[in-house]
């Protein structure tokens, strides 16, 4: 029973409902009685453990309840799982997304970069094709010329050509294919003199046309510095021409390489001057400043093969012009004095260039 008494004391001491004086006495006893102190310690530990054990138990129950509650929720609400998934992998997804975005735009960008030169190349290629097409066209024109004797010379695919004066009164010669189908024709020389002209005569067979200045303001070209050669020129003779293959006047030099023209045409020379569309109708002169021909065309696809109508045929045409007042006068007013012979080339050209015109055809 002593045990029980001690127990009761311990119990009331621990639960703090011991009267103050009794408590003081008990504490004194505790300090002296080691066995009692040990018992109190054990008792306290036991009670504490039991109490927190109970708390833990109830906490566990609570958590279990929450857990099963949560399981019920997630079973129904799957989006929560998605959200969890997203929360967990948002970073990875973000990295993946940015990497893929980067590679997509990087690829697009680099493709763009690669494409730029390709585009340029295509442009060049188109240019080249246009060039080829032009050549093809001239070649076709030549073939047409074989079939149709009225068009012996190929027609350069340009709406401009070259022409030169044959007397001081405003008469000029050019290739008839230059002014073919023209509504109006204008001529202009290096000095900037500009005249309106009309075609007054056409020789389809020799591809020659005579133009006349129709401007009322026109008075005279002045004295022509060159003469027309009646005889045939020799093979290998140095020849040159002036023409307008572009905006400015262009000088071209070569030699007479054959006494016959395209497909053995005896009315023309073959010359080795590099020519371009726009040179047609230009004057062909020899070293001494004699006019020996009129540039008419070239053979497409063959290097250095250009053709010029012999001056003899030009003269023949002039002489055979219909005997009307105006046209008959041309033969009489042809230049008789050569002012170029004995001069060097640049000086010849300086005198010559005022009589060589660009023929602009509008239709």
């Amino acid at each position: 029973m002593l045990e029980y008494r001690a127990y009761e004391q311990i119990e009331s001491y621990l639960s703090n409902d011991m009267p103050a004086d009794e408590k003081a006495a008990f504490e004194v006893l505790l300090r002296t009685d080691a066995r009692l102190a040990e018992q109190v310690r054990e008792h306290r530990q036991l009670l504490q453990t039991m109490r927190s054990f109970g708390q833990r138990q109830s906490l566990k129950l609570q958590l279990d309840r929450i857990h099963s509650e949560m399981e019920d929720e997630t079973a129904v609400a799957t989006p929560a799982l998605w959200k969890v998934f997203w929360n967990r992998h948002a970073q990875t997804v973000a990295v993946a997304a940015s990497v893929s975005l980067l590679s997509v735009f990087g690829t697009l960008w680099s493709v763009q970069q690669l494409k730029a030169p390709v585009r340029q190349q295509t442009a060049r290629y188109v240019e080249l094709r246009r060039e080829v097409e032009r050549l093809k066209k001239t070649q076709t024109a030549i073939i047409n010329g074989i079939n149709d004797a009225t068009k012996p010379a190929p027609r350069p695919a340009a709406f401009s050509g070259t022409g030169f004066a044959i007397n001081a009164d405003g008469y000029l010669v050019t290739s008839s294919h230059v002014v073919e189908g023209a509504d109006s024709v204008l001529i202009e020389n290096e000095a900037g003199q500009k005249y309106k002209v009309v075609e007054v005569y056409r020789d389809q067979i020799h591809d020659l046309s005579i133009l006349k200045v129709s401007d009322s303001a026109f008075t005279t070209f002045g004295k022509l510095p060159y003469t027309f050669k009646t005889a045939e020129s020799d093979l290998g003779e140095k020849v040159y021409t002036l023409g307008y293959p572009r905006e400015d006047i262009v000088f071209g030099e070569g030699s007479l390489s054959s006494a016959s023209g395209f497909e053995g045409d005896t009315t023309a020379y073959q010359i080795s001057i590099p020519l371009n569309p726009g040179n047609s109708g230009g004057p062909l002169l020899d070293d001494k400043g004699n006019l020996i021909g009129v540039i008419s065309g070239k053979q497409a696809g063959q290097e250095g093969a250009a053709f010029a109508i012999k001056s003899a045929y030009l003269l023949q045409m002039i002489n055979e012009l219909p005997q009307t007042d105006t046209l008959a006068a041309i033969a009489l007013t042809l230049p008789q004095k050569n002012a170029l012979s004995g001069q060097n080339r640049p000086q010849q050209l300086k005198k010559l260039k005022d009589y060589v015109f660009v023929v602009k055809v509008y239709n």
């Binding site: 029980y4 036991l46 453990t49 927190s52 958590l63 949560m70």
Partner: protein, 190 residues
């Protein structure tokens, strides 16, 4: 939604201190997926995940209650660290040493907290066993008095004792037995 109440860690802590069960429930549900993912990806099962997570939450909860928690990081990080530590221990007990943990979060060293928890677990294990061995009605009587804090009066009526002295006497006997059982197996670690 009630959720918005506990958007911040502070709100959750405050809620738990106020004994708000919703705060605990919110916290519990918020981080369970993270721990579950961690346990599952480190050769654990669903049940083990639940177990470990609950232990982690208990450590956290009791530290808040005991006002001994100095939270220098997010609750999330703390929970993760505790659960990670507990799981490592559990793996070691199972004789399986994970060569490498697949961590999805950063973690802190929380050995102290978990050690205290383990010690308690051991204590509670012994206590549970002792109570088990004690048998009825002793167990219920002690639980009613010491845990549920019922008065001697209520207990006397509930267990049909003739007077409170008999009840007290009975309680004393029960407690003595429990004491013997408990201290027979439990030796506090020095």
């Amino acid at each position: 939604m009630k959720k918005s109440l506990y958007e911040t860690d502070e709100a959750i802590l405050e809620g738990i201190r106020r004994d708000d069960e919703r705060a605990l429930a919110y916290l519990y549900k918020l981080y369970f997926p993270m721990i579950s993912h961690f346990i599952l990806s480190n050769s654990g099962t669903d049940d083990e995940a639940k177990d470990i997570y609950q232990e982690g939450v208990i450590v956290f909860y009791e530290k808040i209650k005991g006002n001994t928690l100095e939270l220098s990081c997010q609750i999330k990080t703390y929970l993760y660290s505790v659960c990670r530590r507990l799981w490592l221990k559990r793996l070691a007990e199972k004789g399986r040493y994970a060569v490498k943990m697949e961590d999805s979060e950063s973690f802190l060293p929380v050995e102290e907290d978990t050690q205290h928890h383990e010690e308690q677990e051991r204590q509670f294990g012994v206590m549970g066993e002792s109570l088990e061995q004690l048998g009825e009605p002793c167990r219920s009587l002690l639980e009613d008095y010491y845990i549920r804090m019922q008065s001697m009066q209520v207990i006397t009526e509930k267990y049909g004792y003739t007077n409170s002295d008999t009840a007290k006497n009975q309680k004393y006997k029960c407690l003595q037995r429990l004491k013997k059982l408990f201290f027979a197996t439990y030796k506090p670690e020095v």
